[in-house]
Each structure stands twice: as C-alpha cells, then as structure tokens.
Amino acid sequence: MRLLWMQAGACGGDTLSLLSADHPPLEQLIDEGLELLWQPSLSTDSTRRLTQIIADIIAGRTPLDILCVEGSLITAPRNTGLWDPLGGRGKKDVIAELAGAAQYVLAVGTCAAYGGVHAAPPNPADCVGMQFTRTQADGLFRADWRSRSGLPVINLAGCPTHPNTITKALAFLLRGLALELDPWQRPTDFFTTTVHQGCTRNEYHEYDVEDTTLGGRGCLFFNLGCQGPLTLAPCNQELWNSRSSKTRAGVPCFGCTSPTFPRDGNLFRTEKLGHIPLQLPLGVQRAHYMAYKDLAQQAAPERLIDRKMEP
C-alpha cells in the first residue's frame, strides 16, 4: 500500500510518535509492503520529487491508498492558507486535492482531527481540522465528505497520537482489518477505554483519596484537572513507550484526544459544584456519583489515606 504523509501546521510530534511506535514498529510495516511515497522527515528523495508525486496522484497516474495528515490546517490569511504554503498555494488546498484521490484519509493527531492547540483562542492562524473544528462538524471538509473507501476522515486523535495507535491503525489497513468509527470519527479499536481505566492511581480514586497539589501519590481528578475519567484513549491500556503514562507519572490527563483540547481555563484545576467535579466520569449521574463518593470516602483504608501505595 502506498502512503503519503503531509505535515501542515504541526510541531512534528506525530512524526516523532510514529518513530517511537514499538508494537508494531514502523520498519516492520515497511518490510511488510507499506510504501512511503513521502514522509517529510524520512524521505530521501528531493522535494522536487514530492511535487511530481503530488501531480501524479492528483492526475490519477499514481494510486494513493493512505493519506496521513499531521498538523492543523492553516487557512490564514483570508482563507488563502498562504501562512503555510506549498508551491505557491495554501498547503490546505493541496491536501484537499490529495484527500480526494486517497482511499483512506487519516488525521494523525488532534491538530489534524480537530484543530488542536493551534486552534485555541485566539486561533492566530485561523486553523481548522480535516472534518471538524473543535466540536463543530465542519473543517477543511464538511460533515458529509467521504474518501474513496466510503469512510470519512479517520481521526487518530491525541497530542500526539499514541505511537502504537498510529502503527496499529496502519497495520489494520495493510491487513484488511475494518475500522469502525465513533461519533468523533475515532476508530473504536482505540477509543472505547477511558484514560482512567488502568491508571495506577485508581484505588485512590475508588476511595476518593484526592491530591490538592502536584507531586503526590493520590488521585488527580477532584482538584488537579485530570480528565482521565472523561477521556477516551488507550494510554493506560497500552503504555507509552512500553513504560508508563502521564497519570502514572503524576501528570493529569489533559484530555488531548478530545475535540476541545486544549480546554479554556486552568488546565491544572478541576471546576467543581460543591465538592464534586462539574464534569463527571463519562455517563455518570450526579446524584449517584455524590452518594457513591460519600460512601467511598468513609470506606477509605488507612494505607490509602496515608498514601502508602506507590502508583
């Protein structure tokens, strides 16, 4: 299968995430027949060749199986995209043409999926995502857009995308395994588990043993802005770099696979109604949660209250 990777308004983090994937690693996919027509950090062909590759794809001379887009689509100034140009045109327009010729279009990272950090207020470069802008179902493409395979843009959300989510999704396509998408167009194989699930601070959360400052062993959900219970991502199910996750290392989950990332306001503070967070774990009713937490707190064992357990 032929893959073309375009980098728009990006930090390169998803390319580095691709290089950091270990299950499977990129080189294994290449050995298996994934052909990198172009990857900006890895291709040794000259960029003249890229111009030719793009022309051949758009003219139908080279079939394109997979288009990966990394980075926010920059539309400034005045919807020309010239703050991120390619060959004298807005790169967003080149990407739109390539997407029209591709079997599958993958938005790799929250920037390409939903706009991401660059679309945070005041959105200085007028950034959009491929098919969403934040939570609005309208980006470079409208909601009804479909690639040649019949699928909309496949959003491998994350800032960056989990390394193995990238290579596994590519392996699915290589091996003909179907991808099913959730309402945010994320493949359900990677986005049905909360970050909370598998967090090694779970027992603290269970008994409502909550930290108020960073650096401790307790749960980060009630006071320190952790989005783990409301964020769908595999971070604690399939560890990062085969080792760990942010929450295991005491860093709150910032909900980077969500269209609203980064949320407005203080990223290290949990907004509360009374003593209960305003945003509850996914799908949970406030009254039930309050009752559960009050009971849980009373049941908390000393070993947790004293922070004896190493997360």
């Binding site: 980098q7 308004g9 990006a10 930090c11 390169g12 983090g13 580095l16 995430s17 290089l19 950091s20 270990d22 690693p25 080189e27 290449i30 900006p40 950090s41 890895l42 291709s43 040794t44 000259s46 960029t47 003249r48 060749r49 890229l50 111009t51 920059i74 400034a76 010239l82 703050w83 991120d84 140009p85 790169k91 950090v117 660059h118 005041p122 200085p124 470069a125 800032c159 960056p160 400052t213 650096g215 971070c235 560890l239 990062w240 770099n241 085969s242 080792r243 760990s244 996750s245 942010k246 929450t247 295991r248 290392a249 005491g250 860093v251 980064p262 203080n266 990223l267 290290f268 997360p311």
Partner: protein
C-alpha cells in the same frame, strides 16, 4: 557563468524550509533563509494562567518538547523565586538528556547520513559500506538507530509518563519520584544504549573515546575502526568536502546544559554556559541582558533596532510585497550574529578533542556534525552519573510545597540547552495571567534573517562560498544546512521574499 537564483526546498528537517540562494561562478554569493508556516504560539499563551505553559509550550516542538517544558518551568521559577530540590533537578535533567540523545541519534542517522547514499558519491571509496550502513530502512545504522532511539526515550517515559509531550515538571519540582525500580530500569536502558554506541558507532569503550584529546588521536582511532558508523560518516563527510565548508558565524552561544543539583563556584551546569569568541580569551561569560530581537526583515509589526525578549512583541504583519521576507525574528547577542548547537556547547565547555579540531580546520559542517555525536556520548555518561546520584539520594524529596502567595505577578526567564542549542523562554505575568510570552529557539539563532543593520544570519552566512557543482541538485547546501539539525517547526516562519534576479529555478534537495 550567469548569476542564478535558486529556490531550494529542504525536507528531513523538523518542519519546512526554503532557501533563496544566488549562485555565481559555481559558488553561493548570497543566501536568504525562507521558510513556511506561522502558528502563533506566543499569541496563544497571552491571557492563559501561568501553569498552562507547562502543557501548551511543549507542543511548540515534537522533537524537543521536554526542553520547552523545562524552559517554561525555569521561567516560572525565576518569576516566583523558587529553587527546587536537588532530586527534581536530577529527574528533569535525566529526561532532557534522554530526549537530546534521542534527537542527536535520529538527526545523525535518519536525517543527515542518508545524503551520503546520493548517486553523486557512487564512486567514493567507501561506497558499498556507506550504503550498507545508511540507506533508509535497509542500512544497519539506520535500522539500529530506529530501535535504540526508541529505547533511550523509554527513560523519559519512566520518569515523565510519556514522550513526546509530557508535563512532568512544575514550579518547585517534578510530579513523580524516581523510585528505586525506575532507577534500575533507567540504568539498564543507559547500559543497553551505551553498549550499542560502543560496539556499532564508536568501536570502543566510551571512556576511552571521551579521553581522546586531539585531532591526531581521533585519526588514529578512526583508522583502526573503519567499519564503525562513526568512521563511515567521517569518510563520507570528508569525501563530500564537508570539512571545508559551512563555517558561518565564528561566534557561538551556549546557555549551559543541565543545571547541577549542587553547583560549585566553578561549575553551574554539566556543560557550562558562555559565549565562544575564539582568540586569546576564547570564552566569555554569558550575559542574557545582551540578547535582543530585530524585525526589520520579518513580518511583524515594525519597531526600530532590537528589543529584549522581556520587552518583545509578536504582532503578525504579513507584507509579501515588501523587502521583508521572514516570519522569524533576528535574534542578536550584543548586536552580533551567533550560531548555537553542540559545537558551541563543547567549545565553550572545553572538550579538548573538539577544540583541537576547531583549531586545525575551523567550524566546518563536518565538525558541527561530529560535535553532535561527541556530545551524545558525553550525555550517555552524564545520564549514568545522574541515575547513580539519584540512587544515592532516592529518599530525598522530588518536589517542595510552595508557600501560599508565591505565585505573584512578575517577570522571568528560563534559559537552557535543547538538542539544537540555546533555548529561552521569557515571560511576564500580570493579573494572574501571561501578558507576554517570548520564545527564542536554537533554530531562531541559526536560521535568523538579516537584522536592522542588514547583517545576514548565521545560515545565510554559512552558505556564502559553498560550491554548487550541479545547480539542479545543490546537495552541498543540503549538507551544510542539515549539519545544523534545523528545527523549523519551532520558530522559523519565513515566507517568500519576492526578490528575483536572473534565472529563477525551483528545486528540492
């Protein structure tokens, strides 16, 4: 021979980069660094609460996110007058060292070395061995770098949760302790990567390699180990003539790499800060107040002369029809053009081998690349020592409780060494939120456009005189620029200059 204007697009750098280069009689006579993409990070920071910088600014750059996190943390600690505990410094350093080793390895073998497989070098004496080592996804050095660069960043994940883009540093410390189990895992990763570096890259013991002190000793080392990645790189780079081109500005800037947990009167960092001037008094102390940024040739709202970043502003003013040609500002140190990176780090710190090579042949493109590999080997040693020191003091705190009311309005700076050189964040907090956030990345120094006086930046200077054998494929320029490990995603936001002379050719290298 007519004067040609070439427009060169460059990949295998972080981000997009274009150069406009004027070639006369087969040599570059003028260069302008032209890039792409304005993302506006500094504007996004305005109005956000201070700690949000720990989440937002790592996203400036995917390959050096830990460095941005560290700089943001130091700037907040500077503003609030916080001195974190020693273990916090060690843990921060360990994660940054691992990130820099990762970057140096990937830059060398994934971004820089593949150019030596170019068909132009088909007749080089070491051709078969070079291709066998450096061909993408096939060569042994390329494949092993993919593997071991993944291994070394597991150290960041152990201590910080993930790489890229964690936020494990915070004013007053780090978010998690280095437990004995993590320390043992970290030591084991350092051992594994060091063994690979010894066996496959260097062909000998790390300490013996670090003890090499002059150019002759290096020649002898390489001659007896012709099959190592280092020797192959050396042969390929010399065959391509990289030891004679691309010196650029002779002045070099080092912000100091990795603050010591227990600084002494003589030493504040693992690699000391300073400014390399050469001559009789080669290193002078760093004076951050002398840094300013010019926008005469940049697409920002004009102001005369330069502004210190604490008084700086970033207001886009896109004027493609003017003589301004750049989204980047022009940073200067005492009005002088500086280069920054591993060569600066090691010359300032006094690595005898690098100083010896510099005395002999000046600051050429190959020495710059060799300095990057040499620094990577220093870091493996520092990283081992850092874990050993953490093991000895593992019961000491990794974070301090901040006194109430310490998070006041104020100004601060965080200066450090990232993989590509001197990185600074300058901040101002008013009414509990940022009212100013200025970042100067290493590539801003190297890729700077002309300043108020019209003086070209370091890259623009480093290309002057570079031979261009084939104007349709100016590989020499690619070598020189990639020897700097450009990171365009951070800062360099140039657009087209619109200035044309002679024949205009659009090329890629």
């Amino acid at each position: 021979m007519p004067r040609l204007t070439l427009e060169l697009d460059l990949n295998r750098v972080e981000g997009d980069l274009t150069f406009q280069v004027e070639v006369e009689d087969g040599r570059v006579v003028e260069a302008r660094c032209v890039g792409t993409t304005y993302r506006g990070f500094e504007q996004i920071m305005i109005g956000r609460v201070p700690r949000d910088a720990l989440v937002i600014t790592p996203r400036i750059c995917g390959i050096c996110s830990t460095a941005h996190l560290y700089a943001a943390t130091l700037a907040l600690e500077d503003a609030w007058g916080i001195a974190p505990p020693g273990n916090a410094i060690q843990i921060r350093n360990a994660t940054l060292m691992a990130e820099v080793i990762q970057s140096d390895l990937r830059q060398t073998f994934l971004f820089f070395a593949p150019d030596f497989c170019h068909e132009r070098y088909a007749d080089s004496p070491a051709r078969a061995a070079v291709v066998d080592a450096f061909a993408p996804f096939q060569g042994w050095a390329h494949r092993e770098t993919l593997r071991y660069s993944r291994r070394i960043i597991e150290i960041v994940a152990l201590l910080a949760g993930q790489w890229p883009h964690s936020s494990h540093m915070t004013p007053g410390g780090v978010t998690a302790e280095a437990t004995a189990r993590k320390i043992v895992d970290g030591q084991s990763l350092v051992t594994e990567v060091t063994r690979w570096v010894e066996q496959r890259l260097l062909g000998g013991d790390l300490e013996e390699w670090l003890a090499l002190s002059d150019a002759d000793a290096l020649s002898e080392w390489l001659a007896t180990r012709p099959a190592t990645a280092l020797a192959l790189l050396d042969q390929a780079a010399r065959f391509a003539g990289l030891d004679a081109i691309g010196s650029g500005s002779p002045l070099m800037l080092a912000f100091g790499a990795f603050p010591l947990a227990e600084p002494t009167a003589n030493r504040s960092h693992w690699l000391t800060p300073g400014v390399w001037r050469g001559g009789d008094r080669p290193v002078v102390p760093l004076e951050p107040a002398r840094i300013d940024e010019h926008v005469r040739y940049s697409w920002f709202r004009p102001y005369p002369g330069g502004k210190h970043p604490l008084a700086g502003e970033t207001v886009p003013d896109y004027q493609p029809a003017s003589d301004r040609y750049s989204w980047a500002k022009a940073p200067r140190y005492g009005n002088e053009v500086m280069q920054t990176g591993p060569l600066a780090d090691l010359l300032v710190d006094g690595d005898p081998l690098i100083r010896s090579l510099h005395r002999r042949a000046g600051g050429n493109a190959w020495l710059r690349q060799l300095a990057r590999l040499r620094r990577m080997t220093h870091l493996l040693r520092f990283l081992r020592q850092t874990f050993d020191q953490l093991a000895a003091r593992r019961h000491e705190p990794h974070i301090m409780l901040l006194p109430d009311g310490i998070e006041q309005d104020g100004r601060g700076a965080g200066l450090l060494t990232a993989a590509r050189g001197a990185l600074g964040h300058w901040i101002s907090i008013r009414d509990g939120a940022f009212n100013r956030y200025q970042v100067i990345t290493p590539t801003s120094w190297n890729a700077s456009p002309r300043d108020s006086a019209g003086t070209p930046g370091h890259w623009e200077q480093s290309l002057i005189g570079v031979p261009v054998r084939d104007p349709d494929d100016p590989l020499e320029i690619a070598h020189v620029i990639r020897s700097h490990d450009p990171c365009l995603v951070c800062t360099v936001h140039f657009l087209d200059a619109g200035r044309q002379t002679g024949r205009r050719v659009r090329l890629g290298v």
